[in-house]
């Protein structure tokens, strides 16, 4: 039942930065492309996906209902008010961003036709699509964009507040042009200003005092290809085609129905029996992956998690002896067979971790390597550190708080315990439920636990709060383990403002090396949640947002 599995979330704290985000195509070529109108070449593969399909002989077909799964049920279907994964999966069909990200984390225009960035990386000028209407018929204009950025997101989203606080001013030079001026250059700005992290809400409905309790939260009004028509709590959510969608003839689907099925077995049954055509995120337990891979009417992909970049690690409270000893942490890391974890627990959905960053995250350094799996060496290291085994072969005992988000995480904790046993570390389990887990992490009331974090493209948005000493505080999803290395603080601070990609690479490479040396966390695997679709379903995963895309080109063949 513990299918209160992993709420992946896109909200993750971020600090300042300056400079711009480099798309691979930088300099004049990029500007030329943008001037050419709707982002042509750089993003062409992703805009031409329909044509792709046509090229393959499949013509997009109008009509049909897509039934999907959703786990767990979102508490509320309003962007910004809630940032859990399932919420985003649904509201991303209703609300749209200015731009989104390609699988290589390049930028793909959505409501912004094009944009330019000033040379000092401080002024961002967005040109908007002109025929976009909200679901209530009102046109979307620059005012809505400015309201969304400066009021809506600033009020509701912690992360947006951190990123958008860099904005000095936002102006509408005409109804379809927005000019954003930053106080100073901030390197990851574009990674906080797109995708599901910044979508446009209607000013005319939300320009009121209490955004969180706005009555319109119950009936979200966006610009997206689908509208919310029915939500039976605990049962299903029904979205229906937006007939006035700004892309002609799109979307193709008539309806999307999200079924809420709290039991993982029941979800697997639903997928297998064809009662649903799409499952992703935490819908299907990893155990079921091989079975579904073998099933001929389904296709399974691991793509679509490039932006979120989930990384699982074992969190260590560095205040607890002997976990404060880096040799102990290294030994623990060496005792873990990450390939076993990946193959036997996650059934190869992902890759083993090599350091604090995922391969898809910007400035990942492939030369950084974790110490290899080696029980003997780990034992030797512990001996050297002075932790001798007693008569029953136990060096010391630590507590471990499993992540209460589902079976596989429990298995991981059991694997951790069994592995630690092999190097003479006795692990006692300290189970708690999800509500208690966060609270105890925040209170530093743990010795070891498991967590997984989203890197959202850039280390300065997704990672730094877990590593810098200014984030050692009694708040969960920060540096609760008490890791402190002045050099890391310095590297991450510099990287925030560095404008030159090469310089950032240098800074972040060093950060990755230190993170592996200090081993504040035992990095385990780079996860990606498989997405299961019936073969009839096309164009589901086309961006780095995966199933949190807008689905305006998804169709049932």
């Amino acid at each position: 039942m513990s299918d209160f599995t992993s709420w992946w979330s896109e909200e993750t704290g971020a600090q300042e930065l300056n400079g711009d985000i480099r798309s691979p195509a930088s300099g004049p070529s990029r500007r030329a492309l943008l001037k050419a109108g709707v982002a042509a070449a750089a993003v062409a593969p992703f805009l031409m996906r329909v044509d792709d399909a046509i090229a393959q002989g499949i013509t997009p077909k109008r009509g049909g209902t897509l039934t999907s799964l959703l786990t767990p049920e979102p508490p509320v279907l309003m962007i910004g008010v809630n940032a859990q994964g399932p919420t985003l999966t649904v509201v991303s069909k209703i609300f749209q961003p200015l731009f989104t990200y390609s699988p290589t984390l390049d930028f793909v225009p959505v409501l912004a036709k094009s944009w330019t960035i000033s040379d000092d990386k401080k002024v961002y000028t967005f040109r908007l699509q002109e025929n976009v209407k909200f679901h209530d018929g009102q046109p979307m204009t620059a005012d809505d964009v400015i309201f969304s950025a400066m009021k809506f997101w600033m009020t509701l989203s912690l992360r947006a507040r951190i990123v958008f606080a860099r904005i000095e001013k936002a102006e509408a030079t005409d109804p379809y042009t927005v000019v954003i001026t930053l106080k100073e250059s901030y390197a990851p700005f574009m990674y906080g200003f797109g995708g599901t992290g910044f979508t446009i809400v209607p000013k005319h409905l939300y320009d009121v005092a209490d955004l969180r309790n706005n009555p319109n939260n119950a009936k979200p009004v966006g610009t997206g290809p689908f509208k919310l028509v029915e939500w039976q709590r605990g049962s299903f959510i029904r979205l229906r085609r937006n007939e006035d969608y700004w892309k002609p003839n799109q979307p193709y689907l008539d309806e999307i129905v999200y079924r809420i099925v709290p039991d993982s077995q029941s979800r697997a049954v639903a997928l297998q029996s064809g009662q649903v055509q799409l499952a992703g995120g935490n819908d299907i337990e990893p155990f079921d992956l091989p079975r579904f891979q073998a099933q001929s009417n389904l296709s399974v992909t691991l793509k679509g998690w490039e932006y979120y970049g989930p990384l699982a690690w074992i969190d260590i409270n560095k205040r607890v002896k002997p976990l404060d000893d880096v040799r102990v942490r290294r030994a623990m890391s060496m005792a873990l067979d990450r390939n076993f974890i990946l193959q036997k627990l996650w059934f190869n959905s992902g890759k083993v971790a090599t350091g604090p960053m995922c391969e898809t995250t910007k400035f990942y350094d492939a030369t950084v390597k974790l110490p290899p799996f080696d029980i003997a060496a780990a034992n030797k290291l512990l001996d050297e550190a002075g932790h001798k085994a007693d008569g029953s072969g136990i060096r010391f005992t630590i507590r471990h708080m499993p992540l209460p988000y589902g079976e596989v995480w429990t298995r991981l904790s059991e694997y951790f315990r069994a592995s630690m046993q092999k190097i003479g570390i006795n692990v006692t389990m300290d189970t708690t439920d999800a509500g208690g887990h966060t609270a105890r992490m925040a209170k530093w009331d743990y010795e070891t636990s498991i967590n997984y974090i989203y890197q959202v493209g850039d280390a300065n948005i997704g990672l730094e709060q877990y590593f810098t000493s200014e984030n050692i505080r009694n708040v969960a999803f920060n540096n609760v383990g008490g890791y402190s290395n002045p050099r890391v603080d310095e590297l991450l601070a510099k990287s925030r403002y560095a404008t030159d990609p090469a310089e950032r690479q240098k800074l972040l490479s060093e950060f990755q090396r230190i993170a592996v040396d200090d081993m504040p966390y035992l990095f385990l695997i780079q996860m990606s949640f498989p997405t299961y679709t019936t073969k009839r379903l096309n164009n589901v995963i086309t961006t780095a947002m995966g199933i949190s895309g807008d689905f305006d080109d998804v169709f049932l063949a």
């Binding site: 298995r411 189970t431 208690g436």
Partner: protein
Amino acid sequence: MKSFVRRFPRMAIGSAIILAVIAMAATAPIFFPFSPWDMRGSPFEPPGSPDFLLGSDALGRDIAAGIAHGAWVSLMIGGISTMASLGIGVSLGALAGYVGGRVDDAVMRFAEFFQTIPSFLLAILLVAIFRPSIFSIIAAIALVSWPPVARVVRAEFLSLRKREFVQAAEVLGVSHMRVVWQTLLPNALPPVIVLGSLMVANAVLTESALSFLGLGDANWMSWGFLVGSGRSVIRIGWWISVLPGVAIFITVLGLNLLGEGLQTWLNPRLSKRDMP
């Protein structure tokens, strides 16, 4: 012995099952001299494979070892929680039934209170509050299962107090404590013993349901844990859930048979008629 088996077949079968489970628990360290958490081979080996008599689970742990070691935990949880709730129930029930009046009223309201809140929900809440551990599980089960005991004991006490042999003790000048201990309790006990055997069964079931919901103690291998952990992979390895489930079933069955047997054994009026 033979005639006992013939006269009380249920009790004989029930006791045999329970003795077998106890024996299994006791011999677990001999037949499986390793931790049931040890990963001893490849995952998802079906029952009957060379390394694993009853198959292995998702981490390559031995199901047979899990069932054998888990027997001890399940029985311990069942036994201790039943003892505890019998303790609470008997004392409160005896107090209410013997003292009567306002004390009786207060105790009965208290019991009613516990019976009004859905007991399984309350157990979930208690375990979550005290953090899932073997102690909180035992405490939660004990706390939600004492009211029936208190009711039974109270009813027995009330009816016994009217019985002439109890009044005789009173007239002889026997002290309150002696009346309660020597006269009332021994006579009130048979239904409590029957109830107790059923409560052990219930506790085993409740523990497994809690583990199933992820509220078990991860330091102790229990049957409920096995069933719960195997559920998500039931299609890859049905045996991981089903075999421990069968163990639970057999134990609960044994306890029920034992309870029914005790009932007929301790109640001569039923024993003639109810015997199949």
